[in-house]
């Protein structure tokens, strides 16, 4: 009998999504702003259950609920909870608040499935669930033309990307005869297997390309600035953090547990993706006037930073732990950045960087938080961004990717320029309009939570590093252990399978 207890967080969130959608049809519940709090509490509860639940691999290993999936759940659920809290400020403006939280929660369930995937099918299912919900969310302010445009762009390009993943998966299945990650490693290491054939690399390249779309790495980034700019800021906050983390979770799970023999091809692919993401992302961000668009390009560059570690060898424990830690701190940082954008938009009706002008006079606490966020994105100690970047670049350096680290360091300097331009607007320039601006308490609370997290991770990163290391060993242990387990099965099939000819 399968142990279903570790699935409780997934079931809880699905029920939560249905309940919130139904509650949203009750006008009284909608008016009170309670839906967001219900979602946030549900996310917190799911996080607690997830951290307490035993490890399991239900359904023939389709799902792998281990330390890695738990670490991913922390990222996704933290983003969901904080964005839900911030969204309570907007709840009275729409008649569809219930649907908003329901879609957000369902998208999170999809991301959690990606992090817990034990094979290509579960990974694809999670990818679809999370992306389809995001299509609707990106177009949530449907009366705004830009929001509709963002939704359409995400729909068309997202569908193409998921078709690309599926195509790659079909080729990998055709070559290896399995969709389970740990069986794939065994099949490749088998002496009579087709092994590292060109077709296999072709398939893996397609899967990586489709996931590179999800994480917005160059050259699959073109949707990101447009969608980030057009979609409602609260949705963009989710799209640029949790959704990106989901893409990386799938990449880490896939490349970490499937050990391709002599994987020069795959690492070359990742090196190129990483280098051009850092260069194109940072240089494009330099000239942006729109705050959300600038953050979009900055997010492309941040994906490049994380890819440096992946390029250094996706199965090493340093890569997985540093990438997970960076994704966690990046979730807090970027959610806060987009919430600042939301607050400024509510107050001034503008998304331009110039709208931040003189914020320190108009709203000192918000200005302080915004500056902490910008410094963290720029990687200035003692904030979380610095620690995270240090771990990432150390992992890349130790893995022999010194050239990438150099590109990363140089482009980080360029990045510092545009982050500091925002700080200049906030602190050094005087506002044209000296009046105080009002920011909804829920948004202030959410931004404060994020700022506290940024400071906490920056000053005391130890627990998060430990969590990442546990996750890394979970991915590796399963791959190594199953290789050993699977080996005799493969040997036996030598005799029974007519397809195998030595």
């Amino acid at each position: 009998m399968t142990d279903y207890r570790p699935l409780a967080p997934y079931a809880l969130l699905t029920i939560l999504a249905l309940a919130v959608a139904l509650l949203g049809t009750v006008p009284a519940a909608r008016r009170s702003g309670a839906l967001g709090w219900i979602t946030a509490i549900g996310a917190g509860l799911a996080l607690f259950i997830s951290s307490q639940s035993p490890e399991a691999t239900p359904w023939l290993g389709m799902l792998r609920l281990d330390a890695f999936s738990k670490a991913c759940n922390v990222i996704f659920l933290a983003a969901l909870a904080i964005i839900s809290i911030a969204s309570t400020a907007e709840e009275h403006r729409t008649a569809f608040a219930g649907e908003f939280y329901a879609l957000l929660t369902l998208s999170t369930v999809g991301l959690m499935l990606m992090g817990a995937s034990g094979g290509l099918l579960t990974m694809y299912l999670g990818l679809e669930l999370s992306t389809i919900a995001l299509f609707a969310l990106a177009g949530f302010s449907k009366r705004e033309k830009r929001s509709a445009e963002a939704a359409l762009k995400l729909l068309i390009l997202g569908s193409v990307a998921s078709a690309v993943v599926l195509y790659g998966a079909s080729i990998v299945y055709g070559v290896l005869g399995t969709t389970q990650f740990f069986e794939m490693s065994a099949a490749m290491s088998h002496p009579h297997a087709a092994g590292a054939s060109a077709a296999l690399y072709f398939g893996i390249t397609f899967i990586v390309a489709g996931l590179a779309f999800k994480v917005a790495a160059v050259p699959f980034h073109l949707w990101a600035p447009d969608v980030y700019e057009g979609a409602p800021s609260l949705v963009t906050a989710f799209l640029s953090t949790a959704s990106k983390a989901g893409g990386f979770a799938a990449l880490l799970r896939f490349l970490g547990s499937v050990q391709v023999p002599e994987d020069r091809t795959i690492s070359t692919l990742l090196i190129v993706l990483s280098a051009i993401s850092m260069i194109v992302g940072n240089l494009s961000a330099l000239s942006q006037k729109n705050f959300k668009r600038m953050l979009g390009y900055s997010g492309v560059a941040q994906s490049g930073y994380i890819l440096t570690a992946l390029a250094a060898g996706s199965a090493t424990s340093k890569t997985i732990s540093s990438a997970l830690m960076y994704l966690l701190l990046y979730a807090f940082t970027n959610v806060a950045a987009f919430l600042v954008a939301q607050a400024i938009h509510d107050a001034t009706g503008s998304d331009q960087i110039s709208a931040l002008r003189g914020l320190h006079r108009r709203r000192p606490t918000l200005a302080f938080c915004a500056v902490v966020v910008m410094f963290s994105l720029g990687g200035i100690p003692p904030l979380a961004g610095f620690v995270g970047k240090l771990y990432l670049f150390t992992a890349a350096w130790d893995g022999g990717q010194r050239c990438l680290v150099l590109i990363g360091a140089l482009t980080s300097v360029a990045a510092l320029y545009y982050y500091l331009m925002v700080v200049r607007q906030i602190y050094l320039l005087d506002p044209e309009d000296d009046r105080k601006i009002t920011v909804a308490p829920a948004i202030v609370m959410a931004i404060s939570l994020c700022t506290a997290a940024i400071l906490a991770i920056g000053i005391y990163p130890r627990p998060f590093v430990t969590m990442g290391e546990a996750a890394a060993s979970a991915v590796q242990v399963t791959s190594v252990a199953h290789q050993r387990e699977a080996a005799p099965v493969v040997a036996a099939s030598d005799v029974s399978s007519p397809h195998l000819r030595p």
Partner: protein, 124 residues
């Protein structure tokens, strides 16, 4: 399990099937075109040969409520399609199947309640 790359001869039946499939459709259409008598009439050319006589043009705006009703219909359609084989098989599968089906019906029911609460069933 590892599989060696299939040789091209293993795809031969697929190619033959494809060609036979295309040939069969083409031959059938061509043959019926050759031997059929050609005698059109007004009744034969109408949209429905029997039933209500169509009025007006189909290229016009429809009330979007039709779309919601069609969606809700599909919900029940699929439910019925799943319930029927379940009803035949559940004695052998046991309580597990009952639980699964209850879950399925509750999920669809939640969808229906949602649509109803959102006013999808009201005709304005």
């Amino acid at each position: 399990m590892p599989v060696t790359a299939p040789s091209s001869s293993e795809y031969l039946p697929i190619i033959v099937f494809t060609l036979v499939g295309i040939g069969f459709v083409g031959a059938t259409l061509l043959f019926s075109r050759l031997i059929q008598p050609h005698a059109p009439s007004k009744a034969k050319n109408s949209t429905y040969e029997c039933g209500v006589a169509p009025t007006g043009n189909a290229w016009q705006q429809f009330n979007p409520h039709y779309y919601l009703f069609a969606l809700l219909f599909v919900v029940f359609d699929v439910e019925a399609a799943f319930l029927y084989p379940w009803a035949l098989a559940y004695r052998r599968v046991g309580m597990y199947a009952v639980g699964e089906m209850i879950l399925f019906v509750v999920l669809l029911g939640a969808g229906l309640v949602y649509a109803w609460r959102r006013g999808a069933l009201e005709w304005e």
